[in-house]
Symmetry: C2
């Protein structure tokens, strides 16, 4: 009976196939308009082609059947924030639906280890769907959000070849090699679109990697945001050594190939440099002893100091340790470009030796490198930057409005937009992680509103008035808090507050740093034990809790695996 | 002192840089000619650019220094034959040097398991170089072999993006999308070349995948020869399910996406079909229950029966079991083409739906499939087919000649070629695995010669008068025999004979087949225990002997990991 009702309603709507080639941001509201009646009437799906409704509706109708009266929480993103909310939501109360372009969660603190083979790639990965989870999942991109009708439009991306790699441009940008902007998307091949209706929406789409427009970085640098990146780095690192070992490689070329640059002196950059040091000294030194005099690791940062989140004392200890291990730390250095070939070959139009890259810094000019790992800067997710801007109409319920104007006029007469942080452009939320809107007027006293059923957390968001760092710790604490509040239905009880559990970083040769939230510091071998213990404890699945120590042990015993595939 | 001597000799040779752009097969002998004096004078390396000798010679001179009076055995290939010889040679007597385009050995019997995630990829891999091995390794292709001067020319391939994938064309073929032939290689970007001098040469380069010229197979089929292939299959399989799960996918498209075809009814094809059945029924059925009615697995073979190496009784048992599990076996079917898109879209110039492929068989016409795994046919390695043909001059020693003509004339007046099997074109060896030559005359009684220091084993070779199958078992038995004989120096003692240890195949749902060499048969669960035990015992490194049962256990307990990267 249910499906008959649904079909009839869909026919009433008589929506046409939504062909993106004739669709721009400006026509969004017009297209989304007609569906509001359906939503208000309790119709929880919207399809684009009514003539094939019965044939095509299986998954969404099964999703609808599976709701069993529960509220549907759509979670955008499968990172620290989104994956945690999805796992922790009470499946008796909520139907959790994750929408993400990647089918897995990445345990980012272990990525640097997987990039050099201390751990196997999959130990830093948890599939969103597995035998044990009750989470629903659609692999795709959130294209637009219609707050009024509580509908998100999803572009499917189940076979995206860039899955598992860091993103540096909008999802259709790479086809052009240019950034996507709102109006130029039509020409790009897009996935099919479909809509989902939500009761609650969790926006946790994270950030992209920021290259600051530095020429060549997007194309030629290696990133370290996902498992695919780690795999690329591991293959490249070992290829550099294999290339250097060839008898056709001159000593000069060896120094180029084995010159590894890390850009960014945050924990990720420092940990990768440290892990790189370890594989070179623990494994590659035994396999390529003749190459040991040629290698070099350099960390570049524009700031005056690295590891800025640590106290000077502990950061200085790190610096001394890293330098003793032979890792150069070059602060106040500005990367200007990165291109393939040796210095000078580009201007001459000759790029004979594609095996190396030329890195140009303002301070040192051109140097040849075998690999540049870029781990600095966050770029706002295009969904936040482009789609989540104007809010043409407010939802009928679930909005709390405050501001001076409402003495005179009603909220619907005000033009709203999503409130963004002036510097980072992230979504501003209240202290319950609910998305804030602000009136578009340029008054000093602008009206504000809160969308009670739309939450934002993770790197794409900030709680008004706070400056919590963009870290996994903050994202997962917010996610745990939100899931708990939703499960208990007591979100008004108390606001979210971040409990600083401290920061950790591995600095190589079995040494680490730990700075507790209360100012307690540990460094050296003891901190290394803490570091390993913490990440083992926090890894998600029992499978990985078993595999991680197994690999730590086997690789300590037998050495890291240097096979490439 | 040694290095001075070498430099002087090299200058005497005054070899020019060997630029392949002006080099064809025909000019080979002219270029290799001048070096003979160096070799005879005991100079064990040859470099191409004498002016940079001191800068560039490090690796080869270190290799020379490392010889310490031992004979150098160059092993071409890192498969079952080559890797086994390299590991088993006595490093006190021989300097083993492996030359291979891939840096690892692949434990092929476990590939089908890794392709569906029963095991992790790396458990089917052993790096040629590791902390524990004393094997020297150069990553590259054997380009040519100069039997007279005992020199092989190597094209370096340390950064080959196709490493870890099945080969279907010559190594420069893919750049053109056309097969390489002897005269068209100049235009292709080649790696740098360098020469190595050998005392003994082991040719174990294996075979390529044969597609019989079937249109579209090279481009669109999935192979299962190496770890990279397994990774591609695993990603594609899971993408097919994720694509089918999208609400935009019609039921018709689901039947297309989840239609999996395996071409080739040998053990590899059958085992892959069985493993595919397992992941679908043990894991994907729980994750995508709504898709179970849409999937299909079909094995195609041109022959009248599958698993031809098994007795009828046991092959029939396999057929019954496979069919009961829902796997279709279509014998006497001929694949004609494979192209992207649904049937009919190509002729109309429309290829809207790239997510599926159209497989055409002579018997059934066009059908839509989500993936075709091609596991049939061996193509002779281009090194054997092209480079190892004419032998312009015989080495001064290490040749035993027999034949009618030598009553009248000397061996050097005869034109020689490598003896090939008339049907498979593989290298013919004597029963000591030594490569045979034959005179080029078209007489009935042609003269023959044996190169005493050149061995051929594995799929690229055949012992004269035998018809041992092209299997890992034969290759590794030959390799063990050869290493033992070389270590003991008693190759004349007794000829190689193959001991048939039987054949095994996994047929899904914890069942296997085992047919002993003596005719003893086991099938079902007991054979499955044998199957797992045998491959666990034969896996090479202790690391993998620990990891393989760990993954068997964890994946049985938690299910296979369905994350893609």
């Amino acid at each position: 009976m249910r499906s008959t009702t649904r079909l009839c309603r869909a026919q009433q709507l008589s929506l046409s196939v939504r062909d993106m080639s004739c669709r721009t941001t400006n026509t969004r509201s017009a297209l989304l308009g007609p569906s509001s009646s359906a939503v208000q009437a309790g119709n929880f799906y919207r399809r684009t082609n009514t003539s094939v409704q019965q044939r095509r509706g299986i998954t969404i109708s099964q999703l609808d059947n599976g709701r069993e009266g529960r509220e549907r929480v759509i979670i955008l993103g499968s990172g620290w924030a989104g994956f945690t909310v999805a796992r922790k939501l009470d499946s008796d109360k909520y139907q959790a639906v994750v929408v993400s372009p990647r089918d897995h969660f990445t345990f980012t603190p272990l990525l640097a280890s997987t990039a050099v083979g201390t751990l196997e790639f999959r130990t830093a990965m948890e599939p969103v769907k597995s035998r044990r989870t009750k989470v629903n999942f659609f692999q795709g991109w959130a294209d637009t959000v219609d707050f009024k009708n509580k509908i998100i439009t999803i572009e499917e991306a189940a076979d995206d070849p860039a899955q598992g790699l860091a993103r540096t441009t909008g999802r259709h940008g790479n086809a052009f090699g240019a950034k996507r902007n709102g109006e130029s998307i039509e020409a790009v091949k897009k996935g099919k679109l479909f809509d989902l209706v939500y009761d609650k929406l969790v926006i946790s789409v994270g950030c992209y990697s920021q290259t600051f427009g530095t020429p060549g970085v997007k194309e030629h640098a290696f990133f370290l945001k996902d498992v695919g990146d780690a795999r690329k780095i591991r293959n490249r690192l070992l290829a550099c050594f294999e290339l250097a070992a060839l008898p056709t490689t001159s000593d000069e070329a060896k120094t180029h190939l084995l010159n590894f640059a890390v850009v960014g002196g945050g924990p990720t950059g420092i940990e990768f440099a440290a892990e790189l040091h370890d594989i070179i000294h623990e494994d590659l030194a035994r396999i390529y002893p003749e190459l040991m005099s040629f290698h070099r690791i350099t960390v570049y940062d524009v700031a005056a100091k690295v590891l800025p989140m640590f106290d000077s004392k502990i950061a200085d200890y790190a610096l001394v340790t890293l330098r003793r291990e032979g890792i150069s730390i070059k602060t106040q250095h500005h990367v200007e470009s990165l291109y393939p070939g040796t210095p000078g070959t580009r201007s001459k139009g000759v790029t004979e030796d594609h095996a190396v890259f030329t890195l140009t810094t303002k301070e040192e000019g051109e140097i040849s490198v075998g690999m540049v790992v870029w781990s600095t800067g966050l770029m706002m997710n295009p969904l936040i930057a482009n789609a989540l801007r104007q809010v043409p109409e407010l939802p009928a319920d679930g909005v709390r409005v405050s501001g001076p104007e409402f003495d005179q006029k009603s909220p619907s007469s005000v033009r709203w937009e999503v409130k963004k942080h002036p510097k980072t452009a992230s979504v501003v939320t209240d202290d319950r992680l609910r998305v804030k809107l602000i009136s578009e007027e340029e008054d000093q006293d602008r009206s504000e509103a809160v969308l009670k059923h739309v939450f934002a957390l993770g790197d794409c968001s900030v709680i008004e008035g706070t400056s919590y760092p963009a870290t996994a710790q903050v994202a997962s604490q917010k996610a745990l808090w939100l899931a708990k509040r939703l499960n208990k239905g007591d979100i008004e009880r108390a606001p979210f507050t971040w409990r600083n559990l401290g920061v950790m970083a591995y600095i190589g040769n079995w040494n680490a740093l730990f700075q507790g939230g209360t100012g307690h510091n540990v460094s050296g071998r003891a901190a290394w034990v803490l570091w390993r213990g913490a990440y083992l404890t926090r890894s998600v699945s029992l499978r990985n809790k078993i595999l991680i120590p197994t690999y730590w042990f086997l690789n300590w015993l037998f050495g890291r695996d240097i096979g490439r595939f």
